[in-house]
């Protein structure tokens, strides 16, 4: 039986890694994910797991060591944040292109400059096209649950693609919450043994990893890789169901919170969804048809399913915890708006950037978004497609 524990999101990630007990963890410390490898090191020192912990000199080396260990045939995990994730960039593509099912915990954080160590999605949104599966958690429980499921998703023979389980830096990584830690053996049984496809260490069947592909081969390999990533969508649903049967918490591609008849809908991901649910609850008490569409799987992006989930919406606001960086809107906004282009209802969609560099987002800010959506639905007019939440000064 599982037990209720009061621990941080980082500890939730570390416990998931302890129970999975991968062959190798190669990691380099960076705020706010440092406590993950730190806890893993402690678990190893205490004899609670026998993972080979490789303490490298940078995140570039951490991901490189992960790639080597995974190519050798090991089950491999790591953790990082922000600039560390950015330093891995080159190797993230090599992990996904080599189809190595590495699983990484990311305590999502702002990127410098200006120097800031607090939570936002600049790191994972910047890396959204590195070919990794991206699962995003709302709280510590989901952080733990997602990492366990990520192993099964990534290692599925039709997928064989690395996966990251992201959770908001500080809001989740350092906040103590009550969540359910499952029984060690049940988790081990759930993730099962890993059988690599082409392990380098199998000298009976020699294999080459990391060979070059000239112009007459590269294209075919990249499309073959894409198919693996796209296959993850169905596997996420399948593993989410299996997880539900094993532990009582079922997961899908997204969470539809009070969405059945929702007319005013916020689409968001991460810890802000907790605040948004509270606001939805109080609006519902007052008869306002508010809803939240919480993104769980960002890559591969389940655009069709998300568009269907928004079919009752009269106005939609997408919250991005990242700067649009010169695009029409944030990363999630452009995906959602594009998904809705083919929908019959095609509701108006607006975009907010919020929470950059750890800026607080409170119920009053979420309330202002629903107020805006009501006005848009009533007047049919969008005066501002893009705005900011809790920014000093008026934007645009």
């Amino acid at each position: 039986m599982g037990k209720k524990v009061a621990l941080t999101g980082n500890e939730a990630a570390a416990h998931a890694i302890r129970q999975i007990n991968p062959d190798v963890v190669a990691a380099f410390p960076i705020t706010p994910s440092t406590p993950i490898p730190q806890n893993v090191a402690q678990f190893i020192a205490d004899g609670e797991m026998d993972t080979e912990l490789v303490t490298v000199e940078s995140e570039h080396s951490a991901m490189s060591a992960c790639v080597g260990a995974a190519a050798a045939g090991g089950r491999v995990m790591t953790a990082t944040s922000a600039n560390g994730y950015a330093l891995m960039w080159e190797i993230l593509y090599i992990a996904s292109g080599s189809r190595l099912p590495i699983v990484m915990a990311v305590a999502a954080r702002a990127l410098s400059a200006p120097l800031n160590i607090h939570g936002d999605h600049s790191d994972i949104m910047g890396g959204r096209d590195t070919g990794w599966i991206q699962l995003i958690a709302e709280n510590s429980q989901e952080t733990y649950d997602n990492l366990i499921q990520a192993i099964k998703i990534a290692e599925n023979k039709d997928v064989m693609t690395p996966a990251l389980g992201a959770f908001d830096g500080f809001n989740i990584s350092h906040a103590i919450e009550i969540w359910e830690l499952e029984d060690d053996n049940k988790v081990k049984e759930f993730v099962g043994e890993y059988t690599p496809l082409y392990p380098l260490l199998n000298t009976k069947e020699p294999v080459t990893h990391g060979a070059w592909a000239p112009p007459d081969w590269y294209f075919e390999h990249k499309m073959n890789q894409l198919e693996g990533l796209l296959n993850a969508k169905d596997v996420v649903v399948k593993v989410g169901k299996e997880f539900g049967s094993a532990f009582g918490r079922e997961y899908g591609l997204y969470e539809a919170y009070k969405m059945d008849d929702a007319e005013y809908v916020i689409v968001a991901m991460g810890s802000v969804c907790g605040t948004t649910k509270d606001v939805v609850d109080s609006l519902r008490e007052n008869g306002v048809k508010a809803g939240l569409l919480k993104i769980r799987l960002f890559r591969p992006f389940p655009y069709k399913e998300l568009a269907d989930a928004l079919s009752s919406a009269k106005a939609v606001a997408v919250l991005d915890r990242v700067s649009p960086a010169g695009a029409q809107g944030g990363a999630l906004f452009t995906e959602i708006r594009s998904a809705l282009y083919d929908a019959n209802s095609r509701p108006p969609v607006i975009n907010y950037t919020y929470g950059l560099g750890g800026r607080d987002t409170q119920p009053q800010h979420i309330n202002s978004v629903y107020d805006k959506l009501k006005t848009i639905a009533e007047t049919g007019k969008v005066d501002k497609q893009f705005d900011c939440l809790n920014l000093r000064g008026t934007w645009g």
Partner: protein, 114 residues
Amino acid sequence: MSEKLLNWDEVLIGGAIKDPGNSKSYETGSWRVERPVWNPESCIQCMFCWVYCPDSSILVDENGKMSGIDYDHCKGCGICVEQCPTKPKSLAMLLEADAKGKSEEDLRKEVFSK
């Protein structure tokens, strides 16, 4: 190149290669601008060229002796010529364009008979 070009759904995942050493079938010799020409008369069989060649393009016979150059793979970097210790050198670079259509024997004479 003699390999069969496969479709995207036929390639091995992750660009893995199950027949290691298949780079042999990729003839990098076509990249060459200059080629090394060997003079067996002055060669002292020190094997420096074999040690230094980055493309394993120095041919070795069954007795372990330097026996020529694998022009299907030699990229013409000239490292073997740099390393050859004999005076005069037993390897010399020649423009590929000037070597076209001539036998190895003729080239040897042309390069080393001065």
